[in-house]
Symmetry: none
Subunit: 363 residues, 2 copies
């Protein structure tokens, strides 16, 4: 596949990571950013060559990628198309319907603009945090518009694949519903809980009792309020629908708790707890709970060099492939517990091997 | 300070962690659990000696610590006192008013029972997740009853200090309001968000878009539903009040979003976002008990049996003790990345060993 010439407009984390991914395969990349120092840092990292002014960049690229917040996409696109910097345009904003509507209203050429959204990010921002492998194996949503030329969609799809990502086509409205569910509504739910910690009914002594659970639930509530106000406003209807459902469940739970005899468990509460656990288990990946196809075997091990080697050698000798491992160990204790995830068909062999090696196990 | 002889009744995460903390200082610890395998795993970890039946354990301990959900405390206490296993009793349940009322109604000896609640926990349960340092620098609420003998309160306070925790005396009703705010309500808020991921309106494709924010907000929703149903039912009124306030804020936000012009930010939303940020800022920084600083070394490994054995053998041969390991690997890819945590002083040796073994590393 011949790589397209790409102009990155916005050399932040995402834009520079796209640039690095393309450069890794020898692609020709141009960089533009309202902040010259940002563009230069990206260039210094080997991400491409700086274009100081788009008005001098006519026809410089096959594809221009707009890497900026949703509210800026339509005006950014209008300017880039005015300068005719590329044949095809795409963006990476986390909301898709509204920017497309705004671009349509602004009279942009929508035949050439294929909206996209890579589901990848880091807690750090800016080009310095960029990584060529940021998109490897990640989902990259593509939301073609009715006006799109098929060749434009193909070109952007190829670009996504060149970055190592997995393109998933979905219409803009569906995309926005999905991100409302997995990102925007969770943000506001976190905020609404955190808001309870701000009033006079939250004395400092109470907050001394805070544990990791509260910290996790409210962590994202520390995010930039202005940015989030823009994001949720740009995706208002889908977010509102989910928030209303959460509010209804919480209000029903409050009623059930307030009306129950003290100490009684209530069906409303039990059902919600079950549903919540079922929901969190559906989040894919290691952090959303163990994949159901693996069985976890707990093995008590001595905390000393060579002990894990001996354990893995025993597992390997029994042809058991350990899919994941977590080690729990209390500093200072001479033992730890290794939690080994293996395929169910290999559990018996693993138990035998551990037993033969003298390790206490618990399935 | 001479350590008391302690009987742990309930060898789960908290019970076993107390046992490990005491064992670290050479304390005499006895372990009891309705599940013999659980008690045995704790014993295998060095937490103490299993007591198969409390009826054979008269006078075995100075203090018996009941580590069980709130709903079981009163009956557990009655049974333990019937067996006269100790002179002084305490518990660790996260709700304090109701169990004390139930114990009083059950005719327990309240002179010897000093309710407590360590503010420490993990999302994992069971003895395997226990840590001797779980309570280091953490608040441990003590809620003495009017009936308590001063010597019993002193004995339990000493036990808390021996575990490295910071005892804080507070009456049971105030305690219950505080934990409703910092623990029980946040749990149900997390659950209510996670519940949205369970229905047909959350297709698997949508969940593929999940990032770290959603994972954090919903992490605790994976907790044991039965246990949590009991906990919130035992603290119903304070929890209901907070949930209602969260529900009101979310419903107001949903209305504001649904009624706003597309792309408009609304004061309701902005105010809530500001209040949420102010709230999260009030959570105090973590108290002590920080794990030692480890350095993470990333090693690219082939996904096949024996590969980790080879890696650990190389690390062991270099006298490097791997403190923790996480394996990241995208399904279908022939390689994964093992993230090895080691003490900073061992990094150079590990890098050399990995290099000599032909593994690509990245510090």
């Amino acid at each position: 596949m011949t790589l397209p010439r790409v102009l990155i407009i916005g050399a932040g984390l995402i834009g520079t990571s796209v640039a690095l991914a393309l450069r890794e395969h020898g692609g020709e990349v141009w960089l533009s950013d309202p902040d010259p120092a940002t563009a230069q840092l990206a260039a210094d990292m080997g991400a491409g060559v700086v274009v100081p002014d788009l008005r001098d960049a006519k026809g410089i690229a096959d594809i221009a990628l707009l890497a900026m917040p949703p509210a800026f996409v339509a005006t950014g696109l209008a300017h880039a198309q005015e300068c005719a910097v590329a044949d095809v345009y795409t963006d990476v904003a986390s909301v898709k319907s509204l920017p497309a509507q705004q671009a349509r209203a602004a009279g942009c050429d929508l035949e050439a603009f294929v909206p996209g959204h890579p589901l990848a990010g880091r807690e750090k921002h800016g080009p310095a945090a960029a990584r060529a492998d940021l998109f490897l194996g990640r989902t990259w949503a593509l939301c073609p518009l009715p006006e799109n030329a098929p060749a434009a969609v193909d070109a952007v799809t190829d670009l996504v694949v060149a970055c190592g990502a997995d393109p998933v086509r979905v219409d803009a409205a569906t995309h926005d519903q999905w991100v409302a569910l997995v990102s925007h509504a969770p943000h506001l739910v976190s905020v609404a809980m955190a808001a309870r910690l701000a009033g006079p009914s939250a004395p400092a002594e109470a907050l001394r009792l805070a544990g990791q659970g509260l910290r996790d639930v409210t962590r994202i509530a520390a995010g930039d309020p202005e940015l989030w106000a823009q994001i949720v406003a740009a995706n208002a209807a889908p977010v509102a629908q989910i928030l209303q459902a959460v509010a209804d469940d919480l209000a029903a739970t409050a009623r059930a708790l307030a009306s129950g005899a003290a100490g009684d468990t209530d069906d409303t509460v039990a059902r919600l707890l079950d549903q919540g656990r079922a929901g969190v288990a559906r989040i894919p990946g290691k952090h959303g709970g163990k994949p159901p196809e693996f069985t976890v075997v707990q093995v008590v091990i001595a905390d000393q060099p060579g002990e894990l080697a001996r354990l893995f050698a025993a597992a390997g000798a029994a042809s058991v492939n350990i899919e994941d491992i977590r080690i729990e160990h209390s500093p200072g204790l001479p033992v730890g517990v290794a939690e080994l995830s293996v395929r169910p068909g290999e559990v018996a062999r693993l138990l035998d091997a551990m037993d033969a090696g003298g390790w206490p196990v618990r399935r």
